[in-house]
Symmetry: C2
Subunit: 377 residues, 2 copies
């Protein structure tokens, strides 16, 4: 029986993690759940899964609701709730919060030797070296929770590390793939958030449209799999979730129905696989591929340069994107200005070679504030 704690249990990944736990009561038990401020969802989850611990990051939400919790559950609250939960004795900490707050929680868990299943992009993108060094010292690895990295992780079982030729991430290309830079100039926030196949949040929809999502995945893959041999290819059907090519030319690909529950379950059940009652996969689509056009969508290529720089450059990259997406959604800058601004700020920002965790947070906040201030004057 694996003991699981979830940071961000009321969000999409948190809810789907609980779906997986519900399907396998003999495999997993919930030790702790943590939300930002969605008390209603938290209370329903507590009633169903009976964790010993809960966390509520928003102090006001906690104060309004604290009488509602039974005596047999310990409730942490406030800014430190994430780290309090991350420091508990569990087998796997699922980090499904969004934003930079994930980094500190991941570091707490890894420092005490807890395996982390990671859906939070920011911790690896901004703090990749810190996080992976800490994991290595604890002898733990970070288990990816997302379709692409789970696919790579699975495919990497077909060879030894030294036999890897390259990772090939697949990319849907986003809603504007095939268009030229001229067209992109005319893209409005309304166009960017109307994603053709997925109903996603606004930030992630814009990241999909700029291909920043793939750029971030390249950075995550570098830290998860300790290699810079990472390519990507456009595969609009998103049926092949990613691939690994070995030195003998053999390519191993992972295919599955688009569902987050599968990568979540694989991370929780690893090293074994357990039954998942999905309908049988149907090969009813033609699978197509094309080479990315980096003159139109420059961010994935920029991500590779950012990785070569190292230090706090990936953090600058991510912070600049967060600010620019917000500025774009607020109609302060155009669609193409997102990548232009990111590149500009990367060229001017103070480089820190070996950032501490405080340096990472400072860099993030300073870059973000600088851009927001510049355009909101």
């Amino acid at each position: 029986m694996k003991k699981i704690a979830i940071l961000g249990s009321s969000g999409s990944i948190g809810i789907q993690t609980l779906n997986v736990v519900r399907m396998h009561p003999d495999e997993f038990e919930i030790t702790a759940l943590c939300v930002n401020k969605d008390i209603d969802t938290l209370r329903k989850q507590i009633n169903e899964f009976h964790p010993k611990f809960a966390g509520i990051s928003d102090e006001n939400a906690y104060l309004k609701s604290k009488d509602l919790f039974a005596n047999n559950i310990t409730v942490f609250s406030g800014d430190n709730a994430l780290c309090d939960i991350a420091s508990l004795d569990v087998d796997i900490l699922v980090v499904a919060v969004v934003g930079m707050c994930g980094l500190r929680a991941v570091m707490c868990a890894l420092s005490r030797g807890t395996t982390v299943a990671l859906a939070n992009k920011e911790s690896l993108v901004a703090g990749g070296k810190l996080v992976t060094d800490t994991a290595a010292r604890a002898g733990k690895r970070i288990l990816p929770i997302d379709s692409e990295h789970s696919a790579v992780w699975q495919c990497l079982h077909c060879g030894f590390d030294r036999e890897l030729k390259r990772i090939i991430l697949t990319a849907s290309g986003g809603p504007f793939y095939g268009h030229d830079r001229n067209f992109l100039q005319s893209v409005t926030p309304e166009m960017a958030v109307r994603h053709p196949t997925w109903n996603m949040g606004k930030k992630i929809s814009v990241d999909s449209a700029t291909m920043m999502n793939k750029a971030l995945e390249i950075i995550e893959a570098r830290w998860l799999f300790d290699t810079e041999k990472i390519d990507y290819i456009i595969h609009p059907q998103s049926i092949i979730h990613s691939m690994v090519e070995y030195i003998d030319g053999s390519i191993i690909a992972q295919i599955a129905k688009p569902s987050m529950e599968l990568p979540i379950q694989y991370a929780l059940s690893y090293p074994k696989r357990i039954k998942y009652d999905a309908a049988e996969f149907k090969f009813d689509k033609n699978l197509t591929f094309s080479e990315p056009d980096e003159s139109v969508f420059p961010l994935p290529k920029l991500a590779k340069q950012v990785l070569s720089c190292g230090g706090n450059a990936p953090c600058v990259f991510n912070a600049a994107n967060e600010a620019c997406v917000q500025l774009f959604l607020d109609n302060k800058i155009g669609f193409c200005d997102i990548s232009i601004n990111i590149e500009n700020i990367l060229n001017t920002w103070d480089f820190i070679h070996n950032p501490t965790i405080e340096d990472i947070y400072d860099t993030f906040n300073e870059v973000y504030e600088k851009l927001m201030t510049d355009y909101n004057k």
Copy 2:
């Protein structure tokens, strides 16, 4: 340095095995080469690879050429040459001969604990249980040399045996896929051997056209991977060489340029992978899939029934096909008569539950002769 012996070194698989050995002089050395009667090719190969042993199955070919061999090489000849070579002390015996003669050689090698890399279909199809029982007793496994089974073997590294949901072999469908039974009635030998993408021998071209090749692969897969959970799917581009689905719904697929050298090299280098200097794989084709139509091409389905029967049924199936293909090529029967005759003879032939190797050879010869006699009266 792995010591390799090759049975059938002058054939297509034998020559490609030597290509792999030539590329990796630090990994492999040739201990023995065996041909049927192609003395010219054998002598060139001996001059290049300097084996200590050679074999020539055809006694007349041997007698005509025996003065041509140097004193420092031991030459076996005649009917027992294959088993003499198979009994040598080597790390891997590559069995690349065609036909039932492969079975006895495979049994010789496994009995003395030599790992067998197998391109010979007949030994596993006709003698699957005998061969795998012998391998199990020796604690050795049979390494597949063909694209589909090598793909399955590689993909099986992504999970434990008990986690397998099904093997999914891919099938090009052959030159007549999509046609109906009416059309197939009109297929002539000339049409069947004109394969669209591969330049193959006549027997294998007809097997591709009837989908008997996939039927035989289903039987081989059952013995190689000890499971009857085997499906197949039509994938005309033959880019995905086969797949494995796990109980969690994750499907792992192997992709590579069509080349026999890659599966040969994987079998020789296993458990590691070694460099293969192929051009980078280009994803420049759309990959399509369709469900097989077993009312038009019944042989793969029949193969599964044959497996359920067990005993000498797979041997009857294979022998009947060999005879029927010859009769079809000789214009004695029509294209659709191949599968009809195979099914008929399966229903009437004497069943042997636990055949010995002699029973297997007898069954093969009797079925083959019966059909040839019936149609050549």
